[in-house]
Symmetry: C2
DNA sequence: TCCAGTTAGATGCATTTGCATGTATACCAG
DNA sequence: CTGGTATACATGCAAATGCATCTAACTGGA
């Protein structure tokens, strides 16, 4: 017995559309509130999680799926805003460690309030708890390395 | 009996990550092939579907979820590349109608080949047909207007 | 017919991105 | 130690984006 291969576009098209819709809603809400966008949030969040150890730019690159120059310049802007500091990296003269400042943490929290609120409004109403769980599970499947026998 | 509200981030975070991952893969493949990006594809696809009637820019705006100036300038580039023509709109002196050219259709088909191929590689291997169907269904739920009683 | 308000689309300017490349340090084979 | 390669990060330049604003044409009411 053979199972017909799924049409990837049946997944991708609504995924892309949902992504753009939600993202637009969040960014609009943030702008409305006079707060920075989600790219700033993501970086600040990672730094806050990293605590006193901070993070190297190349680590951010992996965590945020950004190109090298993307992290470099994003960090520039965050530093200029006073939300992080660059510290010379002991043990690697090429590198640096990024550390969040109290102002950065404060701003991250403010973004979070709006971010979280918008998600409640744009995502939550569409699903029961069970549906949300199944959707989350299926999306995670997309991120795991593909089963070897399927490639 | 109460059902606990789903955590929207359990859906959103993997969704955003999956989106970025897939998008990056497609764009890289297109660049590699020397072809335009998905924004060009989307516009050309809509025009091709519209056929001889063409489409007004403001219609594209809705279909593609782009801001007004986004459509305006995207159309500029496509026109400069010879992939579409702007035609004065009979009946509305302010407006115009965008029409795909044969070169535009040809290029759209080339993009499609790479696009489709990349989707097969990045999406298909992760799912059974049933899973893909369920995922697609759940994602569509995100796009439907939210149930009135849930807001 | 005329004016006020609305809609379609373009565009100047500042910011952001992408790409290619540059600089400096680290690592390693001989 | 030395020269070659690889890694970490920055940056000049061109293209794309976001925002605000502009023009032109439509619409509806007095």
């Amino acid at each position: 017995m053979t199972t017909s291969a799924p049409d990837p576009f049946a997944v991708w098209l609504p995924l892309a559309r949902a992504h753009k819709t939600i993202l637009t809603a969040v960014e609009a809400a943030l702008k409305q509130a006079g707060l920075p966008g989600l790219d700033w949030y993501d970086l600040l969040w990672e730094l806050e999680c990293a605590g006193d150890a901070g993070l190297r730019p190349y680590e951010l690159q992996d965590k945020l799926l950004l190109p090298q120059y993307g992290v470099s310049r994003l960090a520039d802007r965050l530093a200029k805003a006073g939300y992080l500091t660059r510290q010379d990296c002991s043990g690697d003269g090429r590198g640096q460690v990024l550390l969040i400042t109290p102002e950065g943490a404060e701003t991250r929290a403010q973004i979070w309030a709006v971010y979280s609120d918008t998600m409640q409004q744009t995502v939550t109403p569409h699903f029961s708890a069970g549906e949300a769980r199944r959707l989350a599970d299926l999306l995670e499947k997309l991120l795991r390395p593909a089963p070897a026998d399927k490639i």
